[in-house]
């Protein structure tokens, strides 16, 4: 168990290193922050001192080495635009992202498991067809369109929720709904498919023959067997959300690491960009590890290796 976790963390570290290398060099292909930082007509002396202060005057490989050796000590440098360490800029955005991911995943998994189970239990009946059509629709509605329309309807016309920001709890409703929409569609279909397969298995028939009620058969006997594919897909989706729910950031002016990454790219704020990537990478690696551990808890046949 511990060896498995250690191995996973090591390989995760390698992955993060690879991504950071890519981001470091690709970002510098977009140009220099100096062009954005200074207005036209800034003096040569100003430019040079700025360059020197941020180490931009050094050869690229030397910059990379400095970055790596500092990063290994947890120092990602100062943000070019914000007067604070890059790591702090990245970390301050994480709570909102993690909270949004947690809420959206909880909402979508609960709704999808209930709908998918009902659809499987009544397969090919009217209920199943309605659920399938509805979830196909939620799965295919474009996020940004739904976000804009929901702002128009619920925030502007009905005035039930604020239009943007992340202040009170009401301001979370629309962003959570927007990012849950797609996952609800996908996870419902995954649940339905997995449940249909499990429901046709011998042990479910045996449970019926023993006189267990249908609720017990569905939720105790069948669902836990259908859980593996649901968890796998949900894990993938969650990793995508941690990466940044960018539509939500932009349309709802909602805080989060996605917004920080876009800001850093546009401003060529390299230290913040690199710090964000590392933070997201760590989050994704940990998330995957947690999902692997959930597998083991749910299904005794899964062995860690």
């Amino acid at each position: 168990m511990l060896a498995f976790i250690r191995g996973r963390l090591l390989s995760g570290l390698l992955t993060i290193f690879g991504v950071v290398v890519l981001v470091f060099f690709l970002a510098r292909l977009t140009g220099s922050p100096i062009d954005l930082f200074f207005p036209e007509g800034a003096t040569q002396a100003q430019l040079e001192s700025f360059s020197r202060a941020h180490g931009l005057d050094r050869p690229l490989l030397e910059q990379f080495w400095v970055f790596l050796s500092n990063a290994a000590r947890g120092d990602f440098g100062m943000s070019i635009w914000q007067q604070r360490p890059a790591l702090q800029a990245a970390l301050s955005e994480m709570p909102a992202t993690l909270m949004l991911t947690f809420l959206a995943m909880t909402v979508s998994v609960i709704i999808a498991v209930v709908l998918g189970t009902i659809a499987a239990a009544f397969r090919f009946r009217l209920v199943d067809r309605i659920i399938t059509i509805l979830t196909l629709a939620t799965g295919s509605i474009p996020h940004f369109w739904f976000a804009l329309v929901s702002i128009l309807v619920f925030a502007i016309i009905l005035r039930l929720v604020p239009t943007s920001g992340a202040g009170n709890w009401q301001s979370w409703i629309l962003p959570v709904a927007t990012v849950s929409l797609g996952p609800i569609g996908i996870l419902t279909q995954v649940t339905r498919g997995a449940m249909i397969e499990v429901l046709s298995s011998g042990f479910v028939r045996n449970a019926r023959a023993r006189g267990f009620g249908s609720t017990r058969i569905l939720y105790r006997h069948a669902l836990r067997n259908a859980a593996l594919p649901i968890i796998a897909v949900a894990g993938d989706i969650a990793a995508g959300m941690v990466n940044g729910a960018i539509i939500v950031s932009v349309v709802f002016a909602f805080p989060g690491i996605g917004k920080a990454i876009i800001g850093a790219v546009l401003a060529r704020d390299f230290p913040v960009l690199q710090a964000c990537i590392v933070v997201v990478g760590i989050a994704v690696v940990l998330l995957n590890l947690i999902i692997d551990l959930i597998y083991v808890v749910v299904d005794p046949r899964v062995r860690l290796s």
Partner: protein, 296 residues
């Protein structure tokens, strides 16, 4: 004499939009308290569907018509909820697919305990004690230490033993064993048969043993019904049927059985006119030869 199970004029058909396939046709069969009856026939003869219909386990598009009286209560036409009164506690069934019969994500102990707490209302402590007792009864060695093992940690034969424990644990009045040894290694078959017979003797439950193996039928049953093409073509005391088979199909079955042969050359294959494959059209079942003599 009132029977424990009384099936009369039972018809089971599978009705799809394009065709209707009869699986069980005009079957009448009675099983007395504590009696053991073997239901013998080739695959596709309707034995399993007949067994499942007793528990109300024939699903769409299957349609059951006729009467099945268990303990004086009608089974046909009852809702899933009403059938729960019979399933498990009245009639229990052991199926062919031993490997797929246990829920892979729960330990065998918890599955046994679940039946005892949920269906019989035992307390948790009672259930555990009784579950271990049941495991010992079906021949699991060191049941205390295996209580928390999962199904994949047991062999096929052991899993079938647990399935049997789950079935008899509810003290049913009738056990339907549907080819319980077919999926198992030949070496463990005899043990399972012995176990079922022993449990039947100890608990006094009735037994319907579904098999295609005549030697097995002879070993476990007092009475025997031969099924062919959805119908019972011959029924009577097992020894009687072995010594004086009446129906041509029964005779053909006996001639085809390896037990009577010294070499494979002595075996007689079932005559072609008795071989019913998967019906490829509506009238396939009709074109098969109609049984000439029907007893019982």
């Amino acid at each position: 004499m009132s029977y424990l199970l009384e099936i009369s004029d039972l018809n089971v058909t599978f009705e799809t939009r394009f065709r209707t396939v009869p699986a069980v046709r005009n079957v009448s069969l009675a099983v007395g308290q504590g009696e053991s009856v073997a239901l013998v026939g080739a695959s596709g003869s309707g034995k399993t569907v007949l067994g499942r219909s007793v528990l109300g386990l024939v699903d769409e598009p299957g349609v059951v018509r006729g009467s099945i009286l268990f303990d004086g209560r009608q089974v046909v036409g009852r809702t899933e909820e009403e059938l729960r009164e019979i399933r498990g506690v009245g009639v229990a069934m052991v199926f062919q697919d031993a490997l797929d019969g246990l829920n892979p994500v729960y330990s065998v102990g918890s599955q046994l305990s679940e039946v005892l707490t949920v269906r019989l209302g035992h307390s948790r402590a009672e259930a555990k004690e009784r579950a271990i007792e049941l495991m010992r009864q079906v021949g699991i060695r060191e049941p205390e230490s295996r209580f928390n093992n999962f199904p994949h940690q047991f062999s096929g034969g052991m899993r079938q033993r647990i399935c049997i424990a789950l079935a008899v644990g509810m003290r049913p009045k009738l056990l339907i064993a549907d080819e319980p040894t077919t999926a198992l290694d030949v070496t463990v078959q005899a043990g399972i048969l012995r176990l079922i017979k022993t449990l039947q003797r100890e608990t006094g439950m009735g037994l319907i043993f579904i098999t295609h193996d005549l030697a097995v039928a002879r070993e476990v049953s007092e009475r025997m019904a031969v099924m062919y093409n959805g119908q019972i073509v011959e029924e009577g005391a097992t020894e009687e049927i072995f010594s004086r088979p009446q129906h041509p199909y029964t005779r053909a079955l006996l001639l085809a059985h390896p037990a009577r042969a010294k070499s494979w050359r002595d075996l007689e294959p079932i005559p072609d006119e008795f071989v019913t494959d998967e019906p490829s059209s509506d009238n396939q079942t009709v074109s098969a030869p109609a049984p000439t003599a029907s007893i019982g």
